[in-house]
Subunit: 277 residues, 6 copies
């Protein structure tokens, strides 16, 4: 059960309106690695978790924090859209001035036409957020690793955006998000490390006997050159076994073919010839 | 530039037809973490990479290997669909026998109606594969971490599927895939570790001065209880700084509000009342 | 800013495991009109709202409540998947028993293979939730009407699901959701009515002078028969003007054609003939 | 069964080419609330309706009218793209002139590259139209309410677009659409009102005994402050019962937890520790 | 402008209810090659066409016919869902009888929960129809070829479905659709042939001087073996030039690399090492 | 099984950076008819094919070639993004200069924010590539026809893009692609023709007895005028039978209606009136 305070987690006050930046910021809101992905992934992971209270709580703490980040960025986006005086807004949206029109060409038309100069749950190219981005596997180590990636990707985007504006208010919020994404990377790395200590580094654990061990520690070269050899040669993998390198691809004797199927499938090939029917 | 051999990387020969398993296997082919996601992600990462030949080559080696995994699983799926005698197939697809009909209810109707009893680039619920699953950030450490996740998630799914069949041929191929996904987890962990050695664990590196350092090492509790405290208290984060725990949420004084906008947006609120117009 | 309690809003305890019902319930979680749609729509509407504190608060109250509904249904789904003894689960998922296999054919394979017997942010056919479902227009009356629809559609689905199970625990939760969706329909109808009082029933208001008034109160018949005449004839529209009925379609003199375009578009038609090039 | 006349319902003649406006207009064609959504929703609703000839006919009349609106807007979009002389078009698309290039940056590149300077079934950000937008519930009152929303949202977008152009021809068509959307809002409100008269305002009707009546008329506060109290306090809901307000959230004693599942799911938590395997 | 008659183009009367077949038929309604794809593609092609009245009219005739096919199949689907007596339907949907439950597992749960036992604009796996399936290029020959494919793919699916039912009513409608898809294949082949006569077979025409003619008539072998040689060797291509075969891949001297980019992109590679920052 | 060479199939060297062109080129990479569609379609078709070695090999040759085209275009896109000096890139991305800002408005923000100035598997409007574009029917003739369309549509897009740049390096690569798409159109036309020779032109073949032959060779007019008559009148269809023309639509006596369904569906219509419940 959740409750809400109308105070933001951190201030989201731009110095002035900037509709082009409002478009770009959508990517850390509704993009593949945006805050909505964090929110949905961590909450579902937490709800499905069992057995380790500290990790379940960590996921729910952070998932709940992310709802507030969604709120914060949505607020910033809308303020960047509406933050000019009425006169300036009208001039911007209705004027035929070529320079303003050129600026307007960098905005998201749907932020105006669909959302009434407001944020929407979409990315910087207007793709609606989709749960196809989210991850919640039921395996805690896999999930913690996913979360490290989510925070890494998000922090990369946030940092890139930082350089694309001089607005101190926008930069201040992005600086805050960078700080939080540092903590989140580190906490999820911490949890992953503890789980690796317990269960080993290969996910899922306890399955060594099921796998084909002849191919489980060898890098095969499928591309010309052997530069990748340097990644593994003479090194011990994180699970304690030595890496091997094989200069060339894996290949079996099984020819890629598949049987014919029944005539009711009407797959042309191999069926009786019949020109007139 | 790529070339192809008609020999599979590893044999994909089921003992007998099993159209229900053919549906389930689609998930490791065209699902969120399936082989198509590996193929597209690693190739784009490799193509965009520069500066470290060994990692670029590692990505292209593995991306190319994954095209072969797509081929191998697609072949297995189609053989599971077509691997019965013509008589058995006709009985299965055309009979009114309730038991067979019940079995058929577990199949993917599109594998028959759309693909002519063949594999398609979709998941176990028929969702077409989408590049929204793929990751290629331009930041090598973020990408390597993503790859560890892709291999972890894929290996979890493969292992779950292993238990859902008794077919020795299917299990043999899944066992092979588990082995490869062990290697891929380990090699990408190795690369990630080396990059962390060079640049530190927080992605992207070199940005400490840009971030809000007051919030960069503290776990805030947004959920009741303090079980998550155990994850961080008294511990040192992977970047060498101590973690802190704060019993309660982050909250600012910035009230969530946004300005009104121009009348041309026709946002109801705060505009002149006008019942008849 | 949001906080979370680990207590559910309402109990979500099934009497026993039922993986087929677990699949069906996904529709009110991650379907077009499911709780995720309510959560995202009301929160974005609330964040973008301004000028009427009571409506902004209403949206944020209800949007926050819906996050808890997402949690509650996700919990129910997972309990329906995991609620049998280990022995029964193993028998269900691993047995070759035809009756159990037939039952398993009604389940969502991704709830097992992807989520480890847990809920995911998808619908009953496995489609990932998409923000394409959500609505947040910036116009309060349009949004309130949208919300009435979301609650109506959701309550229809919940009620249909109620009849598909005899499980008292599942029915109890569905009964609770029906109650809340009654309140939500009524509160959003109330808000809509108040806004109509202020601004009139046609959205957006204050635009009568902009529209073509010759066609603004007439029902034209585009289908044979005139049964629809009964909806309008002799009646006064909610804006106080009389409805008209016109027996036949609207039609102008403007022929549907479009000009040719430049040769660089290579649109076949009307270009120079050239067989050999 | 449908037939077609090449005369448009209403003229769609712009004064001059305007490729940027051609992009924006896509939103009322193939966007979430565009004409394709109206067309598909009303037709499916009408085809599934039974029992009330007047409403079935109303849906089919309006759904058929909307096919004509799709045609009309598609025609306008293409004319806005092709409406300049060949010389002007060539200058626009092929010139290196920075001002023209800046203008071109506001256009949809796919209208040229994919459609040959023509309209496509997409929105203003190039998202293909999806049936995920459409609604057809089988419940007439829910459907009529959906239709009121579709027309309200569409009219908001149309009106916003009206202000973004000075072209009299474009404005004339938008003015016409506003008129039709007035009629459609009013006719669907009329139908909804009549159905509410018959069945009551809560959808679906006749289900009071199934629902949890303790929570069916109370607004719970999940956000700080109590501004929303004003929406309900002392008021009677549309179904004749009094609203209640509760200052605080709903909360049960059911702790959010879920059982462990079988080892074959390989969910890390709570399983045997095993570092080396 | 369109008008509608409530008489279907062809009768769509099943002998009896069959909810499993109702699910499968969704594929020729809202699937990739279903009637909605035909309807939308041909209409947009027709609206964008200019210069040849006979082809524009052909596209609009057939596009309009397809709206009626959508109607016809949607009607059949709904009749297959509702065509049993009330008692039988209630037994089917509410009974705990294992055999009925097994049958129900082959149905689409959304046809009940979302559409009230009605058709929806989705495919046999519940994917909503998307305009990503449609084609309208502005080039008439490319479009005519697309249309031949649409009709070929649709007829393959229809024929496969024909074998999956013994219901004479369903077969009668499918037989009708097969007939229409024969005509449509033939008419679009006819149009394509006439356009090829005029402009040559390579689309778009008149561009020979722009292309690299050294590679325009050679089949390169990128897969082992040379079985494909038989397709081209000693044959003359449809444009009158001889085919060539080259035993091996095309390969240039251009190594796949890309430059580094600016530090503000924070792409790890090649940047200054910095462990602590 | 696949292997990779780091040499491109053909050089992809632009003269200079052009981020706007880098956006546009995404359409032939990850768009509906882009190289990813070719790659995935031809490979799946080839893997599912059986019975004709020459066609299976042709599909695998060309599918493998297309992976190299994906690589080549991705390389070109990234070089167009990164091909300026560091100083110029920094000026472009970070400067406040209005002219540069106007240019930047024509770029894809995700190429910077998400991919670090690199190519992604998306189209020119940022839509992620989806397997919904791909075709693999199991019927070889249908597939060969699909492939002709893929190559025709791709060549149309490539040619349009050719005119949108003066860069000799970009034009050279596009010229090469045009050449390959000529060959691919011709080779797939050749294969289609041979299959038509064997099986007849109507897909799937051998089904004449199943279809309704009364409607299989008649063009019905559903749009006003009879311009389409010229396409068929007096002509013989490709299957040797004469075309017929019918001046008016097909229409049956079957009224579009569907039965009521059970009360548990809660479809409003026809149910007992009940205002208070």
């Amino acid at each position: 059960m959740f409750t809400h305070s109308k105070k933001l987690q951190y201030k989201a006050q731009p110095e002035k309106a900037d509709p082009v930046m409002a478009r770009r910021l959508q990517d850390i809101l509704g993009g593949q690695w945006g805050e909505m992905t964090g929110m949905v992934s961590y909450l579902y992971q937490g709800w499905n978790a069992t057995g380790y209270d500290q990790y379940k709580d960590l996921l729910l703490d952070t998932g709940t924090e992310e709802i507030g980040h969604v709120e914060m960025i949505a607020t910033m986006v809308t303020r960047l859209l509406r933050g000019a005086s009425t006169e300036e807004q009208e001039k911007f949206y209705n004027s035929g001035d070529p320079a303003l029109q050129a600026a307007m060409n960098g905005t998201d038309p749907q932020q105006a036409v669909v959302n009434g100069l407001g944020a929407g749950p979409t990315d910087a190219n207007g793709n609606p957020w989709t749960a196809a981005y989210a991850g919640a596997s039921g395996n805690l180590l896999a999930d913690m690793r996913y979360n490290v990636v989510r925070e890494s990707m998000a922090r990369v985007s946030v940092t890139r955006l930082y350089h694309m504006t001089e607005d101190k208010g926008v930069r201040d919020m992005l600086s805050y998000l960078m700080g939080r994404e540092t903590q989140h990377q580190l906490q999820f790395l911490q949890a992953a490390e503890e789980l690796e200590e317990k269960y080993g580094v290969v996910v899922p654990h306890g399955t060594k006997d099921l796998e084909n061990q002849e191919v489980s520690h060898t890098l095969y070269s499928f591309s010309d050159g052997d530069a990748s050899r340097a990644v593994v040669e003479g090194k011990t993998a994180r699970d304690g076994e030595p890496f091997k390198y094989h200069d060339g691809p894996l290949i079996s004797d099984d020819l890629q073919d598949v049987g014919k199927t029944i005539k009711e499938m009407h797959n042309t090939e191999g069926q009786e010839e019949n020109k007139n029917n």
